[in-house]
Subunit: 362 residues, 4 copies
């Protein structure tokens, strides 16, 4: 029902792939935050298409225009609205008849009774995540000033994978370089391996999925709540709102289900005065609340459903079954572009939790 | 921050393991729903301990007492509050000093500044899921009257697993028998295999995890919304609020990330007049909205952190590291008891979506 | 739709006049608050019937039983649930047929499709405000520790009225005595005048209304927000949820509409280092945000619709018009008992604002 | 904290008087609603300045540009965002030093720690109500198609007043003409009387307040809920978010507090098959729920605090007391322009209630 998310911070997104603009309203921001537009633009560029040969050749400026809540270089504390105009839109690529398999064509038709803007995926377009990236770019410096950093890397493309983050003893120096690379990978060899996987999919007129792992480093212990406002609940709710995400796991995730307790448990110890855990199979969260270790999670990204191969489907207008080949500008793999989106989600939820934590104490 | 969940239906839970009572308030229920107390009691019994040899020997009545919102056998439409008194509580088993690894002892201390009720896990106790099961029992007949059924089975215990649901062509007759069995499994042999795994863990003074798969059958196309109110977002938010859940995936889930699009996509076809998909790798959800196929998801349940084996940890009171062996009444595996909790979550979110869907159309 | 209120603090009430119990869940409370049960009981007694000759002769214990969220004399920070059992309930006094004029009999029938618990007003009963008074009693000491006090007096009964609070230069010593008096009045003579008005109404088999004025003293400047979370919006939303409230005004209220700006404006001046206003026609709120002056508002309480005089009405069951005389135990005036309810609302909203204000700053 | 309002429909506003744009996001709109841009423009013009000699001479186009959620002439059901660019803004009129009495200058400083956009009142500007009027214009035809009409008139200016709506037996023909008149008044003589009052205030370099009465006609019985989602709670919360509103009353409002029950009660009778009340002192609402009679309420609008007369105040920058005369473009009375804002609030809340009511029944 709602395109609004958050407890103290509230993020509201709007727009369709081919509407006049897409955008975001950020409500509940502290006043006085400085915005660094170069940094914002860099973050936007990480998600934008056309950055590398794996992304669609559409050139989109994706320059957010802030229309409210910003004055003399700082947030005012009132709702900050940013718009991204939709400029390079070729409506002719899109028709309404055939239901693209695993796209939202059919569900949109049922949900909106045929009134949805179907051009380019409409409100279901991955493009609507650009406002999320903007929000993340606004919030990352706020977090960083409190010692919190957010890292993400591509853990796998198809069946090829690389090492996970070391979430018990993170290698911060290495992780800080992730953003600068053509692909956000921890192992140099992954650059080639993952590229090859994506190239192979493209050549086969196909697409391919992957897994992104994310770490929130420096988060204090005591954030979140048991049950419905658990850190996992809040992160997962927002992560699953990102198109193409089909799985979310924290810490050891699904593999913890194969373990015994003696293996899965993370023993506490003192590191100086601080309480740490020797392993971090719970992903930094116990009982829904952060324990001071890095919050770690992975998301499964499905292969984009737009493929040039012929697929069988039905046509809502003709009422017949037919064969469909989807042409146009489509990434063979959206995982590289999704990295900054996942980071943005982590930034938003963490900032919301940090603000909320001020209300816990008497 | 909040122990309240839902959009139209709102569920609020309260209570600690050793407080006077635990309970639930259900707000937004349609008026006129009949409650079947035998059915409610059966559902409560599925989660209650002492049902089989894998659960803790504590005998708890777990009989909910409805104190409001119920009149002459039906819901009134005003908030329905149900209480479960805490009777058989032996406070002596619990002390505050040592931090049980991967329990919420430490995070509760940080979150609540030392004022939490630490007895028996307090508000973090798995016992607090009993009110969820009650809510599920209230809502399942409401869903069933609309043709919606909810099934769940144990897909794996430790490294042993059984077949998944066939979510493209479900075998309803088989699934309807799941509730009647000592363990909710699809393959007869799993009864032995899974029991052996749990026995082995117990004998080793250890615990073990597992995966539960759940299917919501009969859900109409068009429920949910893109982004923050996606069906995945809402289900996952509530699923991750269940203690011990560390992963949630929809349809093919994490394995879809290894696929190519041509394999992952679910082709549409006509089954009579209805639009179906040949496969169901998306778990019945496209763009956050149901497509009319069964909604299917799996959750990873960690091994319970309470084990009798010696573990190293720190003691908050002495400020020293120490070795801890957790004695008392603890399941070696909570997966069997969690089945009805997962079903309850599915029932709640589905009922909330069904009510909400009435507001979509003009 | 919802019986839940609040932003950081969330208050959820449930119960019907003749259900097994009524109660409240307070979520978002800071951990570590001490509860003073003598004080709570005193507050409950202020609202309870049978305190003086103007209230109904029903004796209700109204002793809240806390079943969760409370441990070793303090709040735990998890949801605090308190129950008040319904004991002295004589169901025979109530029948469903005739619609009592200006009661909720008809609207409940339409809203809940005939499934409402109609005994004694059901969920519409003034008795459901007892949980609000409990919440107020929990929060008042929390506010007091921060220098915030809440006062309320009966400004008028029928056409008789007394002086208003001096909200620019409050006489705290006098206001602190209000609670100790048989009627919360500022002028000694009002005790007789107001009593006479209520007696006269009772003798005429009639009822009578009045106005309560409330002041929140000591509230810091800067609480609240423009627009939908204005202090006025939040207070009024909760005030209008109290049965019988038909008007809410802040500061000079409706009379400010008759003024010129030069008269209505509150000029600023320095009182030492602090910024005060010479008058307080805005009731301590500018642009939805507190200005540091006392927050002042008045609420209009209608005469209770239950009167023994014959009234014409319709009977839903017979489908005919008929004459109705309402017998049984009814106050001729609920204003005296409503005083503590209004104070409780002020306490809840103020505490919620104080907690929220911690999130405003970077 | 929040600039978002509503249960099923969610309205989010943003913008400052002198930011690049102001705007609104409407979420939860049914899909398929047609928008009539001529009608929208007419409604916008009713609130816009420069319409008559009582409003400020600023010419603002106030033409909303819809950037999302709208396709082929109809709402899509996804968030509809509309922007109004700020064009004619003369920043020089505004300085930050002296605190304008009864304006939000001081409270904004405290709330936003000096980072607020202070130009022209910033986010506190009455101009931010233009998006509300847009929302009202979108929703009025939706309501009208369901037989619901919204009327409002100026009940008083200063000490001069005219007759109230007849809410038991409304004169629809007369009320439908209100919009077409230069001032929305029921009595022809009020045109002169009210104009004289406003002229006199202007000549005295002063301002003046007034009261607006609003009626929602045709609303079915059974909308709303007891307690926190009472119709009064929801309407008042949004009404008090409109700058300058200092009082809200329903039906007889504050005067009902002077009545006896026998006078205040609204007797039921049959009008054909329908149940009506002979009087409508409760304003069409019993127990928080509509009874099918017109919903009637009044709001007190304070005199605008911007007056040219000298006022004493303090200067935040110099830290000294000083005398201030506010020059520039200011209405002597904002009541005429507020009429369409109040109507818009009524339209929004009623539409939200109508959608929500679909979820009440099984």
């Amino acid at each position: 029902m709602s395109n609004i998310f958050g407890n103290i911070l509230k993020l509201s997104i709007f727009g369709e792939s081919h509407s006049e603009a897409i955008g975001v309203v950020l409500d509940g921001l502290p006043s006085g935050l400085r915005l660094d537009f170069d940094e914002i633009q860099k973050e936007m560029a990480r998600r934008a298409p056309g950055r590398d040969r794996f992304s669609t050749p559409r050139k989109e400026a994706d320059i957010p225009r802030i229309v409210s809540g910003f004055f003399e270089g700082r947030t005012t504390g009132t709702p900050l609205c940013a718009l991204i105009e939709n400029t390079n839109t070729r409506s002719k690529d899109y028709s309404r008849g055939p239901l693209r398999p695993s796209h939202a064509d059919f569900t949109a038709e049922m949900r909106y009774h045929g009134f949805q803007d179907y051009r380019g995926g409409g409100h279901f377009s991955g493009r609507i995540t650009a406002p999320l990236v903007f929000a993340g770019a606004v919030l990352k410096p706020y977090l960083q000033a409190q010692g919190i950093e957010i890292f993400a890397h591509i853990k796998s493309i198809g069946t090829k994978s690389e090492a996970a983050f070391n979430s018990a003893h993170p290698d911060l120096a290495a992780y800080r370089k992730l953003k600068e690379q053509p692909l956000a990978v921890l192992e140099e060899s992954s650059l080639q391996t993952f590229s090859d996987e994506m190239d192979a999919a493209r050549k086969a007129q196909d697409s391919i999925g992957g897994v992104i792992e994310c770490m929130v480093y420096g988060v204090p212990a005591g954030l979140g709540s048991p049950f419905f406002d658990s850190v996992e609940s809040r992160l997962s709710a927002m992560l699953f709102s990102v198109p193409a995400v089909k799985g979310v796991e924290f810490g050891a995730g699904f593999s913890i289900a194969t373990m015994r307790g003696s293996e899965a448990n993370d023993p506490f110890y003192f590191e100086g005065d601080a309480i740490h855990t020797k392993t971090n199979n719970t992903g930094g969260i116990n009982g829904g609340i952060t324990n001071g270790m890095p919050v770690c999670f992975s998301v499964a990204i499905r292969p984009t459903p737009s493929i040039a191969q012929a697929q069988s489907t039905v046509n809502l207008i003709t009422g017949k079954e037919e064969t469909l080949a989807i042409h146009g500008r489509h990434d063979p793999c959206i995982v590289p572009r999704a990295v900054s989106v996942i980071e943005a989600v982590a930034a938003f939820v963490t900032a919301d939790l940090m603000l909320e934590a001020k209300t816990y104490a008497e």
